[in-house]
Symmetry: C2
């Protein structure tokens, strides 16, 4: 397990015992920004216990503070609780995972970090109906006032910042959260399952629930970025920082 | 001005006087998550004063904590300081703005909130060389292990969460920040200007600088989302919340 992370007392945290009402956890939305970001994990193994609607709304309200292209605010959030609807999304998820999970497994064979992720997704795929809340983030209508060449970027850039707010808010109140797109791989089926018009595109889904608990292994720590620092004297240098952005799992 | 926001003492904040070193502002990264999100604004009018490299690195390091599709961590951040390079990006920005700014102006005529945004972008377009730091967020290589139908979503979903971390971190230390794609509208030129290989896609840019100061008008407050709450009894309801996600400007 990751002692550094465990040392923060947050990553290997279990669901709050006893009172899990919004009133009981609301103040955790004031968690330090740095702590929320540095301890964010994809937590896929969650309890089937219910999550208070007010907590979900509070997280979505913070999602709505994020910027959108040309201030379009053309996002829509569909909150799914109905086991039947979750079951239909789970069936889609399984179809896609049978193919792409298998590919991922073969391509990343021997990579223990990826193997952990794949085991956790396997768990999520087989328990998707039991996840108490699935929030599907959508975009309605096209992007505005941008050339086609950056239209796609502006389009998705109008919902993923809000999704990250949602994930960070969930993490701060102690909810397990993970970002998935595979349950939506068949966009026609996803629209039918969710009752969305053609004008609304289901972009990604956030599965929310109280963590089953466990410990978080350390982040990959590999060098995951470079920056070209173009200096005012025209010279350039390259610097990079270790990355622990790996979505480490609560096993 | 927006008294609610001004009441938080953060939105109409000017650049810190005196010491703007990383040491002087680093503890602000521990700002309350809720405060950082609820007071995030697109602040386009910034001073040409330099921004400490360590502050930029700290913001990018937090960006690297965000999730990526299949844990690809295939992001790259190019930090531009060279006035010549900024000048070339500014020229691209102006070309695109002449067309799309004009369209936006006509389509949103009479909308004072949009008019404020357009005035601020006008300012940014004409002063882009003076912005001290421009961080270009890029994606290298294709997405992994996902069907084409959600490939685009997963692709952009692997960088925009990190960009939102960067924007929130900048906001917490008191930097003005805005997310733009127009300077990159010509992807060939953008690659040439930034010296990027074909395998690296410049996705969006974050302009960073100390705010010129001013006051922030209130958010639009319009109803910007709906949620279909699929209840366990199969019934559905619709709820919506007022949105103040408008990227309000520091004038």
């Amino acid at each position: 397990m990751d002692n550094d992370m465990a040392g923060s007392g947050t990553v290997n945290e279990r669901a709050p015992d006893g009172d899990r009402s919004f009133e009981a956890v609301r103040d955790r939305l004031d968690m330090s920004l740095r702590e929320a970001m540095t301890t964010q994990r994809s937590v896929r193994r969650v309890l089937s216990d219910d999550v208070d609607d007010d907590i979900v709304v509070a997280c979505i309200e913070l999602a709505l503070k994020a910027p959108t292209g040309s201030n379009g605010q053309n996002w829509e959030f569909v909150v799914v609780r109905d086991p039947r609807v979750k079951g239909e999304l789970a069936a889609q998820y399984r179809k896609a995972w049978r193919v792409y999970g298998g590919i991922g497994e073969r391509v990343t064979a021997g990579d223990e970090a990826m193997a952990r992720i794949i085991r956790a997704v396997d768990w999520q795929v087989s328990h998707f109906e039991e996840v108490p809340v699935v929030v599907v983030a959508c975009l309605s209508g096209p992007g505005r006032f941008v050339p086609a060449s950056v239209g796609q970027s502006t389009h998705y850039g109008s919902v993923y910042p809000s999704v990250q707010n949602l994930l960070l808010a969930a993490r701060s109140v102690g909810l397990g959260a993970s970002l998935v797109t595979l349950p939506l791989w068949n966009q026609c089926s996803a629209r039918r399952i969710l009752g969305l018009p053609l004008s609304v595109q289901p972009v990604c889904a956030v599965a929310l629930g109280w963590p089953r608990g466990g410990t978080a292994p350390p982040g990959a720590g590999r060098w995951a970025m470079w920056c070209t620092w173009t200096a005012t004297d025209g010279g350039t240098g390259v610097t990079a920082g270790p990355c622990s952005a790996e979505p480490v799992l609560v096993d």
